[in-house]
C-alpha cells in the first residue's frame, strides 16, 4: 500500500498537463514517429531478410546437412553401427539383408539415385554400383531370403569391397563435416580424415589464387587510381567534374560490354596482337596469349574495379585542406617530403576504404574470370558456380561459400585491428 502511494505520488509529480504521467505521454508522442520510421524501412528490411539473410542461413545449413543416407538407407545405417570399419572384413550378412530391403524400398520410391549421387560426390562410381544392383533387386520376390551378399557382389564387384562400406559408414550421419573437408581438399571416405589425391585437389589452390590475384588487382587499382584521385581533388572544379565523369563512365556501361571489350582487345586475333604483329614486335605464329589466363583477368578486373578505388580516395583527398601541404613547405619540406610526410598520411583512410572495397569485390568476382579467365584464370566463385550448375552438389557449394564468407569476415577483422575501421572513410 505504501509503495503504491509512493509511486502515485512520484507519477503525480511528473504529470504532464492532462494529468497523465510524463513518461507515458512522451512515449505516446514518440510512438507515431517510431511507427512511421519502421514503416519506412519495412520494405527493405523484409527484402533483406528474405533475399539475403535467409539464403545465407540456408547456405550455412546445407553445408552441414547430410540426410540422404540416413533417410534412404535407415536399416543399413543401424546394421552398420556394429561393424568394425578397421577390421578389413566385409560386414555380416545382416548388413547386406538390411541394405537389400532399404534399396528395394528406395527403388520403389525412386529415391535410390538421390542416395547414389550423394555417395558419388565422395566416391566415384557409386551411381553405377546402385544402378547395377537395382536390376536383380527388382526381380527379387517380396519374401525372398538371403544370402544377399553374393547377390550384391555379383551385381557389382565393389559391393564386396571394404572401402565401399567404410565410405557408407563415414557419411551416414545426418550432419557431416564432409562438405567442408572436400572444400579444403580432404576426404573421410576411408573413415579417416586424409588429403585428397593431388589430381582431385583444386579448392585450396583456387582459394589461394583468388586471394593473391585479388590482392594484386587491389594494389594495381591503388597504383593507377591514386594519381587520378589526387588530380581530381586538386584541379579546378570544372575540370574535376569532367574528369569525374570520365571516371564514372565505366559505371554506366554494362559489365558484360566492358569485359567483352577486353576480349576484343586481348584475344589472339585481337586489336593489340594485330598491332604488335603489324609493327613487327611479335611473330605472326607466336602471338601473345593475353586472354583466357591470369593476365586477362588481372587486366580486365583492374579496369572494372578502378572506380571503386578512385571514388573513396577522391572523397577523402578532397577533405585534406591545402594548407597542410603549404604549412609543410613553409616549414622547409620539399615537394616530396611534404607529400609523403603530410599529405599521404591524411589520405590513408581513403586507401583503406578503397582497398577493402576493391579486395572484397574482387574476391567474390565471377563474371569476368568466367569470360576472360579460362581454366588458369578461374576464381573460387567460378568453381562454386560449377558445383552448383553442373554437379548440383549444394552441400559443397554451401561449404565453399561459407568458407569464403568467413575468410572475408576474418580479413575484415584483421583489417580493423591493423587500420581501424573508424579510419576508413567513404566520403
Amino acid at each position: 500500500m505504501m509503495s503504491t502511494q509512493a509511486t502515485d505520488h512520484d507519477e503525480r509529480s511528473m504529470d504532464a498537463r492532462g494529468g497523465e504521467p510524463l513518461k507515458r505521454s512522451l512515449a505516446r508522442a514518440l510512438r507515431r514517429q517510431k511507427i512511421r520510421a519502421l514503416l519506412l524501412i519495412a520494405p527493405l528490411l523484409a527484402f533483406i531478410v528474405l533475399g539475403f539473410l535467409m539464403p545465407i542461413g540456408s547456405m550455412l545449413f546445407r553445408s552441414v546437412e547430410n540426410p540422404q543416407i540416413t533417410d534412404i538407407l535407415p536399416r543399413t545405417v543401424v546394421a552398420l553401427a556394429d561393424w568394425d570399419a578397421d577390421s578389413n572384413e566385409l560386414p555380416s550378412e545382416a548388413v547386406y539383408t538390411a541394405l537389400v530391403s532399404d534399396l528395394r524400398i528406395a527403388i520403389e520410391e525412386r529415391t535410390a539415385m538421390t542416395m547414389a549421387r550423394r555417395m558419388n560426390y565422395e566416391m566415384a562410381g557409386f551411381t553405377t554400383m546402385v544402378r547395377r544392383a537395382s536390376r536383380p533387386l527388382r526381380r527379387l520376390d517380396d519374401d525372398a531370403t538371403g544370402p544377399f551378399r553374393e547377390l550384391m557382389i555379383e551385381a557389382h564387384d565393389d559391393w564386396g569391397d571394404v572401402a565401399t562400406w567404410r565410405a557408407l559408414k563415414a557419411y551416414s550421419s545426418p550432419y557431416t563435416v564432409g562438405y567442408y573437408l572436400s572444400a579444403v581438399d580432404y576426404t573421410m571416405v576411408s573413415g579417416e580424415i586424409e588429403p585428397l589425391p593431388d589430381n582431385r585437389s583444386i579448392h585450396l589452390m583456387l582459394f589461394w589464387r583468388t586471394a593473391w590475384m585479388s590482392g594484386l588487382i587491389c594494389f594495381l587499382t591503388l597504383l593507377l587510381g591514386y594519381p587520378v584521385a589526387f588530380l581530381l581533388a586538386n584541379v579546378k572544379e570544372r575540370y574535376a567534374n569532367l574528369l569525374l565523369i570520365m571516371v564514372l563512365l565505366p559505371f554506366w556501361t554494362s559489365l558484360l560490354v566492358r569485359t567483352s571489350a577486353w576480349k576484343v582487345l586481348l584475344q589472339e586475333q585481337g586489336v593489340i596482337n594485330q598491332l604488335l604483329v603489324w609493327i613487327g614486335l611479335v611473330a605472326d605464329d607466336n602471338r601473345l596469349a593475353m586472354i583466357n589466363n591470369k593476365f586477362g583477368v588481372i587486366v580486365a578486373m583492374t579496369h572494372i574495379l578502378l572506380p571503386f578505388m578512385i571514388l573513396p580516395l577522391y572523397s577523402v583527398m578532397k577533405t585534406v585542406p591545402p594548407s597542410y601541404v603549404r604549412a609543410a613547405k613553409s616549414l622547409g619540406a620539399n615537394d616530396w617530403t611534404a607529400f609523403w610526410r603530410v599529405y599521404f598520411p591524411q589520405s590513408v583512410p581513403g586507401i583503406g576504404a578503397g582497398a577493402i572495397l576493391v579486395f572484397i569485390m574482387a574476391v567474390g568476382y565471377y563474371i569476368t574470370p568466367e569470360l576472360v579467365g579460362g581454366p588458369s584464370g578461374m576464381f573460387i566463385s567460378n568453381r562454386i558456380a560449377h558445383q552448383w550448375n553442373v554437379s548440383g552438389n549444394w552441400g559443397l557449394v554451401g561449404a565453399l561459400g561459407t568458407i569464403l564468407l568467413v575468410a572475408v569476415l576474418v580479413l575484415y577483422w584483421v583489417y580493423d585491428k591493423i587500420v581501424g575501421i573508424d579510419n576508413v572513410k567513404l566520403g
Binding site: P321, A327, K329, G332, T337
Partner: protein, 365 residues
C-alpha cells in the same frame, strides 16, 4: 651599391598580381619593412592582403615586380627554401603527428639531430606555455592551445621573418585579446620581423608597429596605428578604421592648414584640408564620434558649434552613444564616457554640439 639593408629587410617593389590575366588583384604594391618590425596588412576580404602574404611566402608568384628578402630577390626561390615561418588561419597542425612531432618536423627536414631537436622543441613550447602537451595530438587541444602550438611551430626553426594569416580568426573574443598580447610580446622579445594579415581593425591597431590598409589591390595608407586613426589620409581609411561621421559638401575657401566647407544642406563648417587642394572641390568631412562634444563646459573655445537633434540615446554601460541629425545627416554619432557630469538626452532634444577644427578632416569625396 651600399644600401642600408636594416631598413629594407622585406621589400615589395612595384609588385602586381593577376590570377586570370584580366583583373589585377594586387596593383603596383610598394612596401619596405625594417628588421624587427611588426607590420599588419589590414583590409576587407578581396583587397589583396592575403595574396601579398602568399607571394611573400612563395605560394603565389608575382606577375610583375620584385620581392626582396634581406636584399635578395626571392621570386624564384621555392617556399621551402625561403626559411619563412608561417601561421595559418586554421593552424594547419598535422593531425597525424603529436605536438612534439609537429614541432620537430621543420627541424627534422633540416637534418637536425634528435637531442638538439628535443631541446629546441621544449624551448619553443616553453615560450607559449605548452610544454606539458608535447605528446598530445592536435585534436586533443582546444582552439587556443592549437593556436599556441602553431605559433611555436612557426618559431621553432628560428626564422627571421614570420607570416601570420588571420591566426586569431577562429578564437572567441577573450582568448583573441589574450593571444594578441602574447603574439606581440613574443615577436618583440625574439626580435622577429612579422607580417600579420587580418581584417579585424582592433587587432591591427593594438598589435602593430605599422599598419598597411589595403583596398582594391592597393595600400591606401601605411602608418603607425595612431596616425592611421587620428590622421586618416582618405575616406576609405577613415571609414574602415574605427567609427566615423561623414558629412558631404564642397570646399568654399582653402588657406593652408584651414578650409571651410559648405555642406550639402548649406551649413558652413571649418575643417583641416587633407586631400583637397582647391576651392570648389567636392569633399567628405570626417569627424570621430568621441571628438564630438555637447557639454558646454567641455567645449574648446575654438570649437565649431552646430545645431543637432537627438534621434536616439543609447546606454552602453561605460559610454553613451547618441545618434543625431546633423546638417541633414541622420547617422551622426556622438560618443562620450559615462560620468556624473555628463548630460543624458531624450529623443527629440535640440542641442548644440561642437568639435575642434583639427578633428574635422576634409578628405576625398
Amino acid at each position: 651599391m651600399p644600401t642600408d639593408r636594416s631598413d629594407e629587410f622585406v621589400v615589395f617593389d612595384s609588385v602586381q598580381k593577376s590570377y586570370d590575366g584580366e583583373i589585377l588583384v594586387v596593383k603596383d604594391l610598394n612596401l619596405s619593412m625594417p628588421k624587427g618590425e611588426f607590420l599588419t596588412m589590414l583590409g576587407p576580404s578581396g583587397s589583396g592582403k592575403t595574396t601579398c602574404l602568399m607571394m611573400l611566402a612563395g605560394f603565389e608568384t608575382a606577375t610583375h615586380g620584385d620581392i626582396r628578402l634581406d636584399g635578395k630577390p626571392i621570386n624564384n626561390i621555392p617556399p621551402h627554401k625561403r626559411g619563412i615561418g608561417m601561421v595559418f588561419q586554421n593552424y594547419a597542425l598535422f593531425p597525424h603527428m603529436t605536438i612534439g612531432e609537429n614541432l620537430g618536423f621543420p627541424l627534422e627536414v633540416r637534418g637536425m639531430g634528435k637531442s638538439e631537436r628535443e631541446a629546441k622543441i621544449t624551448r619553443a613550447l616553453g615560450m607559449v606555455q605548452m610544454e606539458d602537451f608535447v605528446n598530445r595530438r592536435p585534436a586533443q587541444l582546444s582552439g587556443g592551445q592549437q593556436q599556441r602550438v602553431a605559433l611555436a611551430r612557426a618559431l621553432v626553426f628560428e626564422p627571421e621573418l614570420v607570416l601570420m594569416d588571420e591566426p586569431l580568426g577562429a578564437l572567441d573574443k577573450q582568448l583573441r585579446e589574450h593571444m594578441q598580447f602574447e603574439i606581440t610580446r613574443l615577436a618583440h622579445d625574439l626580435g622577429i620581423t612579422t607580417v600579420y594579415v587580418t581584417h579585424d581593425q582592433t587587432e591591427a591597431l593594438t598589435m602593430s608597429d605599422r599598419v598597411a590598409v589595403f583596398n582594391d589591390g592597393r595600400i591606401q595608407q601605411l602608418a603607425p596605428p595612431e596616425d592611421l586613426y587620428e590622421r586618416p589620409e582618405n575616406s576609405f581609411v577613415a571609414q574602415f578604421i574605427g567609427e566615423n561621421n561623414k558629412l558631404d559638401g564642397v570646399v568654399e575657401t582653402i588657406n593652408g592648414e584651414h578650409c571651410t566647407v559648405r555642406l550639402d544642406d548649406g551649413t558652413l563648417v571649418d575643417a583641416q584640408p587633407v586631400n583637397v587642394s582647391q576651392a570648389g572641390e567636392r569633399t567628405r568631412v570626417s569627424i570621430r564620434p568621441e571628438r564630438v562634444e555637447s557639454n558646454p563646459e567641455r567645449l574648446h573655445p575654438d570649437a565649431h558649434l552646430i545645431d543637432a537633434e537627438v534621434l536616439e540615446f543609447i546606454y552602453m554601460g561605460d559610454t553613451f552613444r547618441t545618434r543625431l541629425r546633423v546638417a541633414g545627416n541622420q547617422d551622426f554619432v556622438m560618443k562620450y564616457r559615462n560620468a556624473q557630469d555628463q548630460p543624458r538626452y531624450q529623443k527629440g532634444d535640440k542641442i548644440r554640439i561642437g568639435w575642434r577644427p583639427e578633428d574635422c578632416r576634409a578628405l576625398d569625396a
